[in-house]
């Protein structure tokens, strides 16, 4: 049952997490990491642009809340579309190069968007971020089904989105399209030689990645009731990448584990230990070095692999 994993994950959070707030954050970033993983783990594309898509989704939703007074679902839809559009445009340029040049192009665009937040501070609120949201409600076309005013409801909304995204990506990665992405990851030149227009596939991967990370950004805006400037900064991109790699790029569940690990560490350690990120760095390094697997396709493992290992021992 493909839905077992994500459902168990959110159920586990609901039971064990110290607060709904933390649980929601974990789920939201897990969705963003899913988008990142589609590019990195499945297509082999290392992009510093996930923060762009997350941030664009957040700001798109935020702006629609502030200026058009839409309800949460509409805002999320706008975030999703915005993420997909930006991902397609930026992606179409970045995929014109490969390898290190591709990575640098994503980095360049990430810095451009980061700068744009301050350049257009009339729109984004600059350093103060976007504020002034109306009360968040779940509903459509004016009628309200539910007020989005408690942590529990927020967590529920985030979780439903997470499970839906997880399910959709599971189908995608198991489809012929997903198989082609993996072929591109393994050996793009051979994929071209056997007849696949790889540029098209890479672009579509970007679009889907934008959809997923965009909705994560939208959820973030709803959750916070505002959009901080950090949403579109490079640090967000790096954080999402770290979560994705730490959790394991070989599986979708790894994206959840990465977000979980990162945010739990942050939650428990950051208040008391200034340099808690050194643990994160060490863990990341350990994960990466353990992937001695030679070629690119070996970049998986991480926590997800460890979980699978433990499950194997337990049986």
């Amino acid at each position: 049952m493909p839905l077992a994993a994500p459902v168990c994950a959110v159920a586990g959070l609901a039971i064990f997490a110290p607060s709904y707030s933390l649980a929601s954050t974990i789920v939201i970033y897990a969705i963003a990491a899913l988008g990142c993983n589609l590019l990195l783990g499945y297509t082999g594309l290392l992009s510093f642009g996930q923060g762009i898509l997350f941030g664009v989704g957040a700001f798109a939703a935020g702006l629609s809340f502030v200026h058009w007074d839409v309800q949460a679902p509409a805002g999320l839809l706008i975030a999703t579309v915005a993420g997909a559009v930006v991902a397609t445009v930026v992606g179409s340029l970045c995929i014109l190069r490969r390898d290190v040049h591709f990575v640098m192009l994503t980095f360049a665009f990430a810095s451009m968007f980061a700068y744009a937040v301050y350049l257009f501070k009339d729109v984004t609120g600059g350093e103060n971020g976007l504020r002034g949201f109306p009360a968040m409600t779940l509903g459509a076309f004016g009628s309200t089904w539910l007020e989005l005013d408690t942590g529990a409801v927020m967590f529920a909304v985030a979780s439903v989105t997470f499970v839906a995204a997880y399910w959709a990506l599971t189908r995608l990665t198991r489809s012929a399209f997903g198989a082609t992405l993996m072929a591109i990851r393994e050996n793009e030149d051979r994929a071209i030689a056997i007849g696949y227009p790889t540029m098209l596939f890479k672009l579509l991967a970007f679009t889907v990645s934008g959809l997923v990370s965009g909705v994560a950004g939208g959820l973030y805006a709803v959750f916070l009731g505002s959009v901080p400037d950090s949403a579109l900064q490079l640090e967000t991109s790096t954080m999402i990448l770290v979560m994705t790699i730490l959790g394991g790029t070989g599986s979708l569940f790894g994206s959840f584990l990465g977000s979980l690990a990162y945010l739990l560490l942050s939650h428990y350690l950051a208040p008391t230990w200034d340099r808690w990120q050194i643990l994160l760095a060490a863990a990341l390094l350990a994960v990466v070095l353990a992937l001695r697997g030679g070629l690119w396709g070996g970049l998986r493992g991480g926590l997800a692999a460890s979980v699978a290992l433990v499950r194997g021992w337990v049986r």
Partner: protein, 290 residues
């Protein structure tokens, strides 16, 4: 527009550019010879500065630090290469980037742990403090020294690459790594020495830069970003290209400070993106049909 400000900024660009070159050239040599993308290269820059910090803290002058720090860092680099990084040469670039990035973050965290997150500066030696009039501009002696020293090193490096056996092996190895083995070259030693050289140059650049702009653990990331831009624009493995690109990037940044202060780095990245896109297969093919 204030022409003296513009002039002094242009001069700054020259000094900065040469420092960027000394940093980036190591990255491009390693990439060109060993096909190894080292996103931890910025760490050498930072470690050089901190080594100098320790040395000057113990009473040694900056002159000594300039001489000794690069060798300390080169030694660290040689060990890291031998013990860890050598295994990554055969792996995909994307993996190398991820791995060395993780290494860079770890080093940054360790540096912060040991020395704190705050920035520090080194003082220029007594003999180089003070200013001199360069045309209408009053310019610090230290910065002139930086230009002179960096230029001299650039020339020395060129001589090393173009006129010595070592340089010949390095250049040949960059073009045909498989062939130099056949020519009886000890490839492993060549790699180690090149990697150490790259690190030493970056460390030296770090020491030179600190009296001008300060240093903090996070500087490594910024420096890395610029170094990769320089290498990518100048052409991987190209000495001349890296030099021109480094100077161009520094000048763009320096001039931008005059007209659009916060935008300097973004402009650099935009220009890099334009260069990369212009060189893409798609565009090149369109251009050749035109």
């Amino acid at each position: 527009m204030d022409s003296t400000l513009l002039l002094s900024q242009a001069l700054n660009g020259l000094g900065n550019g040469l420092i960027y070159f000394l940093t980036a050239v190591g990255f491009t040599l390693v990439f060109g010879l060993m096909n190894f993308v080292n996103f931890a290269h910025g760490a050498f820059f930072v470690l050089g500065a901190y080594a100098a910090f320790e040395l000057t803290g113990r009473g040694w002058s900056l002159w000594v630090a300039l001489l000794v720090a690069p060798f300390i860092v080169a030694a660290i680099a040689a060990i890291a290469e031998r013990v860890l990084l050598r295994r990554m040469y055969r792996l995909a670039h994307t993996y190398q980037i991820v791995a060395t990035l993780a290494l860079a973050i770890t080093v940054q965290e360790i540096v912060t742990l040991v020395w704190g997150a705050n920035s520090f500066t080194l003082n220029a030696p007594e003999s180089l403090s003070g200013t001199v009039d360069v045309g209408p501009v009053t310019y610090p002696w230290y910065r002139i020294f930086v230009v002179v020293l960096a230029a001299a090193l650039t020339v020395l490096l060129w001589v090393l690459l173009e006129r010595t056996t070592f340089g010949a092996k390095l250049r040949a190895g960059s073009e045909r790594p498989d062939m130099i083995v056949c020519l009886g070259v000890n490839v492993f030693r060549l790699f180690s020495v090149t990697f150490a050289l790259a690190a030493g140059l970056a460390a030296l650049a770090g020491v030179l830069a600190t009296p001008m702009r300060g240093m903090a653990p996070v500087t490594g990331t910024e420096v890395l970003g610029l170094a990769v831009v320089v290498v990518v624009v100048g052409g991987i493995g190209s000495f001349g290209g890296t030099l021109v690109a480094a100077l161009a990037v520094a000048e763009v940044q320096s001039i931008a400070v005059v007209y659009a202060p916060a935008a300097g780095n973004v402009i650099v990245y935009v220009l890099m993106a334009l260069v990369l896109l212009a060189r893409s297969d798609v565009v090149m093919r369109r251009l050749s049909h035109a």
